[in-house]
Symmetry: C2
Subunit: 331 residues, 2 copies
C-alpha cells in the first residue's frame, strides 16, 4: 500500500504530517511517497503541479492533498493543482460528508453527504474575453453525469442511506442542468430501494440552512457542489473538520476542504480533524478497510467529545497534541 502525500502550502504542511503520523499507526506497512504542489512549487518550478507529482500520484493511486495557496489575480501559467489533479487522475466524484461531531458547535442529527461531479461544468476552464465581454463554457455530459450519479447511488446503497436529492437549476438551464437531472434520474431507476427527489439549487441552499437534518445524499454538478458543500460545512462544525474524498476508478484523493490559511500558518495550531476524517474516507472507500476507518473516526469523535480541540473550535490543543490524543484513543 502506497500513499502519495502532497502537503502543499501553509497549514497543509502542518496538518498533513500529523494526520499521516496517525494513519501510520493503523497501517504500519504503508509506504509514503512525498510530492510537491502549490504556490511555492509554482514559484520555484514554474508549475503548481510538477510532472513528477502527477506521476507519483498515479503510481500510488491513493493521495492525501493538504492545501495550497493560490493567487488572488491571474498569474500566467498558474493553474489550480487540485482541479488539475482531480481531472488528471479521473476522480469523477467528490464526496463531502457533513456530520454532527461532538464539541464542534454542530447542530444535532446531521448526517448528510454531498456527492459533487468533479470534472466538468464551469470547471472545464474554457473562457474567452476581449476585455469588455467575457464568456465561460459550462459543459455537462451524459457520461459524466451518469457516472457521478452511479457513484452517489452506490454510496447511498452501501452506506445504508435512503434518499438521493438531485440539485440543479433546470428552470433556467433546461439543456445543461436538465441533462444532469435526467441522467441522474435514469441511474436512479436502477436503485428502486433508494428514494430520489430533486431541488432547485437556490431552494436547496435555503432548506439546507433551515434544516440540514432533512438531507441524506445530495447529488450536484461541480459548481453547485462547491458552494453547497462549504455551506453544509457551516452546520457541521466549520472548515476545520470538513473532510472530502475525490474518488475515481484509478485513484482517490483525500482532501481536507479548508485552504492553506495563511493567517494561522506556522503556529502549529491548525485543526487536523479534516485531514484525519479525509483519511478515514480513503480507508473506507478506496482501501476497503471499513474497520480501520471506523476506528479512526471513533478516535477522532472521542477526542472531541473529551473536550480536546484546536483553537478554531475554542480549545487549546496544538495540531500535534490533538493527534497525540487521537493516537491514545485508537483501540
Amino acid at each position: 500500500m502506497k500513499l502519495c502525500v502532497i502537503s502543499g502550502d501553509g497549514i497543509g504542511r502542518e496538518v498533513v504530517p500529523q494526520a499521516v503520523r496517525v494513519l501510520r499507526r493503523l497501517l504500519p506497512a504503508l509506504q509514503i511517497v512525498e510530492a510537491e504542489a502549490g504556490w511555492d512549487t509554482f514559484r520555484q518550478q514554474g508549475t503548481a503541479l510538477p510532472a513528477a507529482t502527477l506521476a507519483a500520484a498515479r503510481e500510488c493511486g491513493a493521495v492525501l492533498f493538504g492545501a495550497v495557496s493560490s493567487p488572488a489575480y491571474p498569474v500566467a501559467g498558474y493553474r489550480s493543482p487540485i482541479v488539475q489533479l482531480r481531472r488528471e487522475l479521473g476522480c469523477h466524484a467528490n464526496m463531502r460528508p457533513t456530520l454532527s461531531l461532538p464539541g464542534c458547535g454542530a447542530a444535532e442529527g446531521i448526517d448528510l453527504m454531498i456527492v459533487r461531479e468533479n470534472t466538468e461544468d464551469l470547471y472545464v476552464g474554457e473562457e474567452q474575453s476581449d476585455g469588455d465581454t467575457a464568456t465561460a463554457i459550462k459543459r455537462i455530459t451524459r457520461v459524466a453525469s451518469r457516472r457521478v450519479a452511479e457513484t452517489a447511488f452506490r454510496l447511498a446503497q452501501d452506506g445504508g442511506r435512503h434518499r438521493v436529492t438531485i440539485m440543479h437549476k433546470a428552470n433556467i438551464m433546461p439543456l445543461t442542468d436538465g441533462l444532469f437531472r435526467d441522467a441522474a434520474r435514469d441511474v436512479a431507476a436502477d436503485y428502486p430501494q433508494i428514494a430520489v427527489d430533486e431541488l432547485l439549487v437556490d431552494t436547496a441552499a435555503l432548506k439546507l440552512a433551515q434544516a440540514p437534518q432533512g438531507f441524506d445524499v445530495l447529488l450536484a454538478p461541480n459548481l453547485y457542489g462547491d458552494i453547497l458543500s462549504d455551506l453544509a460545512a457551516a452546520f457541521g462544525g466549520g472548515l476545520g473538520v470538513a473532510a472530502s474524498l475525490n474518488l475515481g476508478s484509478e485513484a482517490a484523493i483525500a482532501e481536507p476542504v479548508h485552504g492553506s490559511a495563511p493567517d494561522i500558518a506556522g503556529r502549529g495550531i491548525a485543526n487536523p480533524v479534516a485531514s484525519l476524517l479525509s483519511l478515514a474516507l480513503l480507508l473506507r472507500h478506496w482501501w476497503a478497510q471499513p474497520t480501520l476507518a471506523a476506528r479512526l473516526e471513533q478516535a477522532v469523535r472521542r477526542t472531541l467529545a473529551d473536550g480536546i480541540a484546536t483553537p478554531d473550535l475554542g480549545g487549546e490543543a496544538t495540531t500535534a497534541a490533538f493527534c497525540d490524543a487521537v493516537l491514545a484513543r485508537l483501540d
Copy 2:
C-alpha cells in the same frame, strides 16, 4: 402614479391583492393596471408574458410581480416571465435585503442587502445540446458589471451603509468572474468612504451561514446572487418575508422572492409580508417616498412584534387578517 400589478399563479393571486390594498391607503391616488403572466397565462395564450403585459409594465414603470408556476420539465415555447421581464424592462439590479424582523425566528442583528446582477451570467439563455453533451454560455460584460456595481455602491452610500463585498469565483473563472470583480473594484474607487472587499462565493456561503450579521452589502453576479439570496432568506425568517426590488432606470419590479406555493394556494393563508416589504422598497427606491416606505415597514414590524402572523411563521392569521392588522398600525 401608476402600478402594473401582475398577480401570476398560486399564492401570487392571494398576497398581491392584499398588499395592494395596503399600498392604496398610503397612495390613495395610485392607479392600478392589472396584467397577466405565468403558467395559466401560458396555457391560455401560448405565452407566459403577453405583449400587452409587457406594454402595461413599460407604461407604468412600476410593477408588482407576485409569483408564477413553472413547468418542471422544458415545455416548448415557455420562457420564465420574470427573467424576461427583468431583461425587457432593463432592471439591471436586483436588491434583496435580509433583516432581523420580529416574530420570524430570525437571528438578531442582521441587516444585509444582496445586490444581484439581473441581466446576464448564465441567465442569458444560450444553451446547446446534442443530447449527450450540453453547453451553456456564462456571459459577463464590463458594462453590466459596472452598472450593477454603481447601483450597489450608490445604495450603500445613500443607505448609510459601510461596506460592499464582491462575490465571485475568479480562482476558477479568472476571465468572467475576474471581469465582474475588476469592474466592481473600478467603481469602488469612486466611493472612497465605502469599504470594499471580496469573497469567493463558496466561502461567502459558509460565512453567511456562520455569521450573517457580519455582512453589509453583497454584490454578486446573477447566479450566485440567486443562490445566496435564498440562503440569506433562511436567516431572515424564511421566504414568506423575503422581499426584493428589480431596479433599472426605466422601471422597477417589486417581487416577493417566494414562488407560487401550490401546496398552500387557495386557502388564503399565504404570508403577505414579502409583498408588503417589496412595495416598501418600491416606495423608497423608485417612487422616492422614504417616509411612506418607513411607515409601511414600521407597520409590518409592529404587526409581527404584536405576535400576529400567518401559519408559515407559526401564527393563525389569514393573509387578509394580517393586512388588516398592518392597516390598523399605519400611522
